[in-house]
């Protein structure tokens, strides 16, 4: 294991991270204005709209979308299905960060954030908000504990790791209990506003609805988040695993749908489903975001494909977001001459918090053992086929070919200045640079002065192409110019693939030849200008 410093060096700032940091900085400035001049100075909230986007999105959606943590944890530990272990840590992290984001958002939205501790001291057991407050506080603590093994592992602290491991079951049960309570309680919040929530959404079952939709959006969010992180971190997408996990969504949403239909029928509220803008929103929510995901997730084809899983998952996520807005903000009776749309500064706060979450996730993913190897399949190699898209060299229209290559590929981190291979050695693997930069050089004798720099490999470029060209001997050396991440594809297996699939082999050979020509032109240029 490399030292932390080396790891930090390896964490380079990508343009996306830069944008995130900029969003965070903007949010900090806006927050400063809010703390100096009041919520009114930055938001369009008013006495007619005491709760706006921050409550509807940052709090209600935030908590719901963080439900992946408790659903995955209960799948792994309570239902004892260890297949889902690989997605547990990312799910817990997403949940933990999600709750931290909610708390940060509340520190902006609360009128008196400096008194947040009053929740602990002054009790009103009649208040749903009181329960939500306590649950969020406790559950965030539990999530912190559930997350703590990553920290302990990272720094090799055995004793606390052991203690936490032993208590895992307690945490999970406690976490699931607290989640059940407050996910549903967020719905109960609106039991106190019967005349305000639009009748299509108001129901005594609001807590049940909130819980069910949270239980459905948990797996969906895990799918979405896994997909995004697989893209972001060039790691494999556990398509099969996620497909399995997704099976839970149709029954949960089905129960929700059934309950909703029965509820509307019994309370005779169908009339509201055909009269105004709210009716339209209702149908969009039910058809587009409940019925459609049920259908999609019921189809094996959808569950077996990463992208369609992601798409269907997004639908569930979108449905929950729309639902939370519908319940808490849209369609409430307000004075005629008032209106609300969040100000840009409200968005700035929300985006800033999301950006902070992304950055935090990226940091944790880089610094902590977030993605553990699949204990069940024990796949040592194999990456997400998605990662192959990073390089033109490996792009094939046929998914099967891509998957075949992905199966024999692996990701590797290379420290700065590390020599990856040396000229003259047998070419054992083809490399694709994912991140960082690698220098190719030829050696004319011992000593650095005798090294001839041939060229620099950029992300997406292949190197070690000799692996594909007989006699499979390396014609140059490669050294990491910076800390970098590479995709390493075993030469023997790749050649075997090519042999088994002549079209693949031919394509690879042609691409290798093209790349070789480019390298040769580099070499000519260099040699012409080199001191003799």
């Amino acid at each position: 294991m490399t030292t932390l410093n080396a790891t930090l060096n390896r964490f380079r700032i990508s343009p996306i991270i830069l944008i995130m940091l900029a969003l965070m900085a903007l949010a900090v400035v806006v927050a400063l204005v809010r703390y100096l001049f009041g919520i009114g100075a930055i938001s369009n909230l008013s006495d007619a709209y005491p709760w706006g986007m921050w409550i509807s999105f940052d709090l209600l959606c935030g908590v719901a979308l963080a439900a992946g943590a408790f659903t995955t944890a209960s799948a792994v530990y309570i239902f004892n299905d260890k297949r889902f272990t690989p997605i547990l840590r990312p799910a817990i992290l997403t949940g933990f960060l999600g709750y931290l984001m909610v708390i940060v958002a509340l520190m902006v939205d609360l009128g008196r954030p400096e008194r947040i501790w009053h929740l602990i001291v002054y009790w009103n057991p009649h208040s749903v908000m009181f329960e939500v407050g306590w649950c969020v506080m406790l559950y965030t603590t539990v999530l912190a504990l559930e997350f703590s093994p990553l920290v302990f592992e990272r720094f090799g602290w055995k004793l606390p790791l052991n203690i936490v491991h032993r208590l895992t079951m307690v945490f999970v049960i406690l976490g699931t209990l607290l989640s059940t309570l407050h996910q549903s309680s967020l719905g109960s919040l609106f039991l106190a506003t019967p005349g305000k929530v639009s009748p299509l959404w108001f129901s005594a079952f609001l807590p049940v609805y909130f819980f069910l939709t949270a239980a459905a959006v948990g797996p969906a969010m895990v799918i979405v988040e896994s997909f995004i992180s697989s893209r972001a971190f060039y790691r494999g997408l556990e398509t099969e695993l996620l497909g399995t996990f997704a099976k839970v969504i149709p029954p949960v949403l089905g129960v929700y749908l059934l309950l909703k239909v029965v509820d509307l029928t019994v309370s005779g509220k169908w009339v509201y489903a055909f009269r105004d803008g709210m009716s339209v929103l209702f149908w969009i929510e039910i058809i587009g975001f409940v019925v459609l995901p049920i259908v999609l997730f019921s189809m094996p084809k959808v569950r077996q494909n990463g992208q369609s899983l992601f798409g269907a998952g997004l639908l569930v996520v979108g449905g929950v977001v729309l639902n939370r807005f519908n319940v808490s903000l849209i369609g409430w009776p307000r004075p005629a001459d008032t209106a609300y749309f969040p100000s840009w500064m409200e968005f700035a706060i929300t985006f800033g918090i999301i950006a902070a979450g992304v950055v935090a996730y990226a940091l944790v993913a880089r610094f902590f053992p977030l993605f553990v190897e699949d204990p069940v399949t024990k796949r040592a190699h194999g990456v997400s086929p998605e990662i192959l898209r990073r390089s033109q060299f490996l792009v094939f229209p046929e998914a099967a070919r891509v998957q075949a290559i992905a199966a024999i590929a692996e990701e590797q981190d290379i420290a700065e200045d590390q020599v990856i291979f040396r000229q003259g050695d047998p070419a054992q693997a083809l490399y694709i640079l994912l991140d960082g930069s690698v220098n190719l050089y030829s050696t004319r004798g011992p000593g650095a002065t005798n090294e001839l720099h041939l060229g620099t490999i950029k992300p997406g470029d292949p190197f070690g192409i000799s692996t594909l060209i007989d006699p499979f001997v390396l014609t140059a050396s490669a050294r990491a110019a910076t800390a970098c991440r590479v995709l390493k594809i075993d030469g023997k297996q790749l050649r075997a693939l090519g042999a088994a699939d002549p079209h693949l082999g031919q394509t690879l050979a042609l691409r290798a030849a093209q790349a070789a020509l480019t390298r040769m032109s580099w070499a000519r240029t260099r040699l012409a200008g080199a001191p003799s």
Partner: protein
């Protein structure tokens, strides 16, 4: 049962806004910067600086104009939603009737504003950390009432539209008034039963919702949420036990499955 209330006979109200100004005077509330927006109602709505507002309604029926006035302020519910939902108990119902606010507890979550069926509480949107934003609403002049005085609005009302007194007697008085002039009034004292009863009671010549008083039903709006809160602890206990039970169950089942698998292996190898 609360002790005090106010009976507001909107047929006696002339919309003079004496109460609106008296409220500001007693409670030391500043004037707001306003515009004329084509209506007499001003400021446009209740705010942290305006706790009592006369709302003007022009209703035209059969080509004849009608002009009605609503004194809009906290209703001081018998079962106040604001007090029920406040997570820190900053709002509470006093035995004298007023629903008052302990500004030392409030965390500014504004759930009271959201929950209030009459949308009464307001917030100091323009105050930051240094000047300490708070929830604001009519407090029934608790400082006057607890010293034997009538609230500033009732005291100042020149047309005697506002009567301050014991709630029970006011309801009786209102109902007697309706019996005496059945043609003049809507046959109901608003606030007698609304959301479980309010300390502020209204008599009106036109339907209350036209006047601007919402239809809120007779159950306290927080009845359901309070019930849910009551069930929460028992539910939590039961749910925790269920989860633990499930965990044990699945562990045992998996162990059984593992044993079975092992057995198969053994058989094969044998």
């Amino acid at each position: 049962m609360s002790k005090y209330g106010m009976l507001i006979d909107e047929t006696r109200c002339t919309g003079c806004r004496g109460c609106q100004v008296a409220c500001k005077q007693w409670n030391d509330l500043p004037g707001e910067q306003t515009r004329n927006r084509g209506t007499y109602t001003n400021p446009p709505a209740l705010s942290a600086k305006t706790w009592n507002l006369i709302q003007y309604t022009e209703v035209e029926t059969n080509g004849r104009a009608g002009f009605y006035f609503l004194k809009h302020a906290c209703m001081h519910c018998e079962k106040p939603a604001c007090a029920s939902v406040c997570p820190v108990g900053a709002l509470y119902k006093t035995t004298e009737g007023p629903v008052v606010y302990d500004d030392t507890k409030c965390i500014g979550c504004r759930y009271c504003m959201t929950a209030c069926p009459f949308s009464i509480p307001t917030f100091e949107w323009g105050k930051g950390l240094l000047d300490q934003a708070l929830i604001r609403k009519c407090n029934f002049c608790i400082d006057r009432v607890s010293n034997g005085l009538t609230p500033a609005c009732a005291k100042t009302c020149p047309s005697k539209a506002i009567t301050f007194g014991e709630r029970d007697k006011l309801i009786a008085q209102g109902e007697a008034q309706i019996r005496k002039y059945p043609d003049k009034y809507v046959n109901r004292v608003y606030g007698k039963d609304e959301v479980g009863g309010t300390s502020i009671l209204y008599l009106s010549a036109i339907p209350f919702d036209q006047l601007g008083l919402p239809r809120v039903g007779t159950t306290p709006v927080t009845a359901l949420s309070e019930q849910v809160m009551e069930y929460t602890l028992p539910f939590a206990g039961a749910w925790a036990a269920t989860l633990a039970g499930l965990a044990i169950l699945f562990r045992l089942r998996n162990r059984g499955a593992q044993h079975a698998a092992d057995d198969v292996h053994k058989e094969k190898s044998a």
